[in-house]
């Protein structure tokens, strides 16, 4: 039975691998650990998980030597906007090595950033699909920004250049609009983004009546680390937020999930400030137009009334003339009717007088005497009855042509 040393065994494994697998392979894997070394190398832990994501199907160490790392790192970051980190899916060109002491490992020679970007896009799409399925994706976009978005809750880190840019841009707006900004601190990169931004959103929500809009901003950097904004939880909180959220997290590439669910997405903090200034400008325009319309309307109405008055004034003399003629006619009618009335009345009265005259004339005693009647008096009294007389009475009889004295004898 041949016995060999461990070193010999490992040496055989090493040479077998070198002989059997001398080529470079493009390998898909997920980064489970990353640690740059002091010498400028980078040590990676690579894994492959099953579909549940809980069980490892394969595991390997991979080393990126200094010379490779110096080119590969900036190339990958420029292409993806991300730095290599745990959880990231990568496509690496590797060769297989075996070291008698350190064992099996890979050496990384190249990386294909499009694979990682494709994976990030797929993950974004999955999150967006889930948000759509949960019915929240469009909620924040449907909110209406108030006419005067002056009170702004800013979620950012105080040290970020972006926050200063935003405040300066607002404060120096050429129109002289007033804005009120309050900062709610949160990490804008790194692993704490999701937790701290959600905490900041909660703090704003607790006093939402004090604000009109929320602005989430950070300055751009060489590496934008946007994938932390591709978070379901963060996006869910933004989508459900009761105030419109404006994002300006500084990037040129595909929108993050946070951008998609936000009310409005702009590229930079400065652009976020411009966006708000323009909204207020529109509002100020509305006011100007209304003020002008008010002036025009009042002037127009006054002019119309003046014209109306003038027309009336012009009409007045002729109106008076018509009125005068009408009144004169009326007066004449009244006069005529009065005269006729009086005339008729007089005629009736005259007739009555004539009748009276006639009856008076008929009663004249002289006429009666002329017709042969006589009037007999005794002692000054008119004699009406024979029985009033006695023999010896003296009678005075008045005839038409004279008076006869006589004495009763029987």
């Amino acid at each position: 039975m041949e016995t060999i040393t461990l070193q010999e065994l490992n040496g055989r494994v090493k040479s077998t691998l070198q002989f059997e697998m001398p080529d470079a392979y493009w390998v898909q894997a997920e980064i489970s650990g990353i640690s740059p070394s002091g010498q400028g190398h980078c040590y990676l832990e690579l894994v492959q998980k099953d579909t549940t994501g809980r069980t490892f199907l394969a595991k390997a160490k991979a080393n990126v030597w200094r010379n490779t790392w110096l080119k590969l790192k900036p190339y990958f970051e420029a292409e993806t906007g991300e730095s290599l980190k745990v959880g990231m899916k990568v496509l690496l060109q590797v060769t297989v090595t075996f070291h008698e002491v350190y064992g099996y490992s890979l050496v990384v020679w190249d990386i294909d950033p499009t694979y990682t970007m494709g994976d990030m896009a797929r993950r974004r799409k999955e999150i967006l699909d889930q948000l759509a399925k949960d019915g929240v994706i469009g909620l924040n976009r449907e909110l209406e920004i108030p006419m005067l978005p002056q009170r702004i809750a800013v979620i950012s880190s105080a040290t970020a250049a972006g926050y200063g840019d935003f405040c300066n841009q607002l404060a120096s707006n050429v129109y002289g609009f007033r804005f009120y900004v309050k900062l709610f601190q949160a990490a804008m990169q790194g692993d704490d983004v999701e937790r701290s931004v959600i905490a900041a959103l909660d703090a704003v929500a607790a006093r939402m009546d004090d604000f009109d809009v929320v602005v989430m901003i950070r300055g751009g950097g060489a590496v934008s680390e946007l994938s932390c904004f591709d978070s379901y939880n963060l996006a869910y909180n933004i989508a459900n937020f009761p105030l419109p959220v404006i994002t300006g997290i500084g990037h040129e590439r595909d929108d993050t999930v946070a951008d998609v669910v936000a009310h409005t997405k702009v590229k930079t903090p400065t652009a976020a400030a411009e966006f708000i200034i323009n909204l207020v400008f529109d509002t100020a325009q509305v006011l100007e137009v209304l003020a002008r319309r008010m002036g025009d309307a009042v002037t127009g109405r006054m002019n119309a009334e003046t014209v109306r008055l003038e027309r009336l004034a012009q009409k007045l003399p002729s109106l008076f003339a018509v009125l005068k003629v009408r009144n004169e006619q009326m007066l004449e009618n009244i006069w005529n009717r009065s005269v006729n009335g009086v005339r008729n009345l007089l005629t009736v009265k005259n007739h009555k007088l004539e009748l009276l005259e006639k009856s008076i004339a008929a009663a004249d005693p002289a006429l009666i005497l002329k017709r042969g009647f006589s009037l007999t008096r005794c002692n000054g009294h008119v004699v009406n009855r024979a029985s009033d007389l006695k023999p010896g009475d003296r009678l005075t009889t008045v005839l038409a042509d004279g008076i006869v004295e006589s004495e009763i004898i029987g």
């Binding site: 006419m147 009170r151 007033r178 209304l290």
Partner: protein, 60 residues
């Protein structure tokens, strides 16, 4: 009053006068109200509201 309400009221007044429906005796009154509303809105736009400042300066 909110800025939106002021603008809405102002719009109402302007269209009332434009429509010629308002009687002349009331125009003066409306004009006065409109002026106050415009001033209110301009103050909001261009003047610092100390009260808002104070509210935002306070922390929870």
């Amino acid at each position: 009053m909110k800025y939106e309400e002021a603008i809405k009221r102002l719009e109402g007044i302007v269209s009332e006068i434009e429509g010629g429906k308002l009687n002349m005796d009331k125009i003066g009154e409306s004009l006065k109200e409109a002026r106050e509303l415009i001033k209110f809105c301009k103050d909001k736009l261009y003047e610092t509201d100390e009260e808002i400042k104070k509210i935002l300066e306070t922390d929870d």
